[in-house]
């Protein structure tokens, strides 16, 4: 089972993607959610850039748009995992899942298979 599917099954997220150095490396967003993915990538990248310039210690950003929640979690300086969830998703559980599965995300990022 993929990590995305596992998170879906636990009711944490709808879809997710992994970014490295601002580039999309892995994604479970279906084609019909292409626009959602674009908004998530651009907005969370902008937010984390602004954070870098102005503040320290922030590794998590959530943006609620309509009934959607876009969440970004920094895994390290260059890697960010982004999720689309229902607007009332439990962000504490998502955060905990990431902490418990950080290595799996890095493994996925380092996997040579195409995204």
């Amino acid at each position: 089972m993929t990590i995305w599917r596992e998170m879906q099954d636990e009711g944490l997220i709808l879809y997710g993607c992994l970014m490295f150095g601002g580039e999309l490396k892995r994604s479970s967003f279906p084609a019909e959610y292409k626009k959602h993915l674009a908004v998530a990538k651009q907005s969370l990248t902008y937010i984390f850039r602004s954070v870098e310039k102005n503040a320290k210690g922030y590794d998590e950003a959530h943006m609620e748009i309509g009934d959607n929640l876009f969440s970004g979690f920094r895994l390290d300086k260059d890697s960010v995992v982004i999720f689309l969830s229902e607007h009332d998703a439990n962000t504490l559980h998502i955060r905990q899942f990431i902490e418990d599965n950080k290595k799996r995300f890095f493994d996925l990022l380092n996997d040579s298979q195409p995204a």
Partner: protein, 318 residues
């Protein structure tokens, strides 16, 4: 003597105290205090512990009426009322203020807070202030509740009107107490309690900033206008202010360019060792908060929503 109990709950200004006053045959026990936070925008006093009244139905049946405080910071009283004073209530009345930005959010919030309590008793949703804000209407409530999986009775009432509030009691009690002359109870209430129209008197006295600082866990606040200009702020750190204004600018851009998703409601930044930063949007203003990282996101969102709804910018509610 048969004693029934009904618990009234709902957000600040939804009309709980007024509804109990409209019904009570005794001088109601109010634990009001001068509102010291955002509540002051809507009313002078707010309930801090509970409301209590008694309605005589027949010579051997009466209803004890309990009202929770509306403000979330007095939620310990909600539990005390649900578990002790009104643990054997026949039903709960959720008062929903129709002028709220998202009345359905209030329903979700209170239905969740009282989910265990509602397992064993009826819920009635009493919508107030529909004379000020008619939307959402009855049909919209029914479909929203259906979507939420809540099967219940919805009644649009004026909390000042004993006839309307008595209808709720009748809905709850008539199934178990059949020998009540509701018309004569209603006449008595109208004679004794009357029907006054002095309930809705907003008092605009406090800035949004003062109100924000009275919220649990809020450490700093900044109020932005529609061009990201600072209307007021007590956040001193310039980079933090810049960051929040940048994010507010971004939310405007996304709301414009990605309209298919809807409006950006809020952005929250968090980290393991830092204060939580959040930007909440509402029409042509935004509220930026620095808050304790232990405050949960749902609580933070509810607080910000309350603050923005009753800010000066929304004085159309007056």
């Amino acid at each position: 003597m048969k004693d029934y109990k009904i618990l009234f709950t709902g957000s600040v200004c939804s009309g709980k105290t007024t509804a109990i006053r409209s019904l009570s045959d005794i001088e109601t026990l109010d634990t009001d205090a001068s509102a010291s936070d955002v509540t002051v925008r809507r009313k002078k006093n707010t309930t801090i512990a509970m409301d209590y009244g008694v309605l005589e139905l027949t010579s051997d049946a009466r209803v004890h009426l309990y009202g929770t405080p509306g403000q979330e910071r007095f939620r310990f009283m909600w539990e005390m009322l649900a578990c002790e004073f009104a643990h054997d209530a026949i039903g709960m009345v959720l008062m929903v203020d129709n002028t709220r930005k998202d009345p359905f959010r209030d329903i979700r919030f209170y239905a969740k807070e009282f989910s265990d309590y509602l397992l064993k008793r009826r819920l009635i949703i009493a919508v107030t202030h529909s004379d000020v804000e008619p939307s959402p209407d009855y049909q919209e409530y029914l479909s929203a509740l259906k979507n939420l999986g809540i099967m219940t009775t919805v009644m649009f009432i004026d909390a000042r009107d004993p006839r309307a509030v008595l209808g709720i009691v009748e809905e709850l009690i008539s199934a178990v107490e059949r020998n009540i002359d509701w018309d004569s109870v209603c006449d008595r209430l109208l004679d004794n309690n009357g029907f006054t129209l002095d309930f809705y008197k907003p008092l605009y006295e406090e800035t949004l900033l003062d109100a924000a600082m009275n919220k649990r866990g809020v450490l700093g606040a900044m109020h932005l206008g529609d061009e990201q200009e600072i209307l007021c702020s007590n956040i001193d750190d310039k980079p933090t202010k810049n960051l929040m204004r940048n994010i507010d600018r971004l939310t405007d851009a996304i709301s414009d360019k990605a309209g298919f998703l809807g409006k950006v409601n809020n952005v929250v930044l968090a980290g393991p060792d830092v204060q939580t930063l959040s930007v909440f949007n509402d029409k042509s203003q935004s509220l930026c908060l620095c808050s304790d990282r232990d405050i949960s996101l749902p609580v933070l969102k509810q607080q910000a929503s309350d603050l923005l709804q009753w800010s000066i910018e929304n004085d159309y509610l007056a």
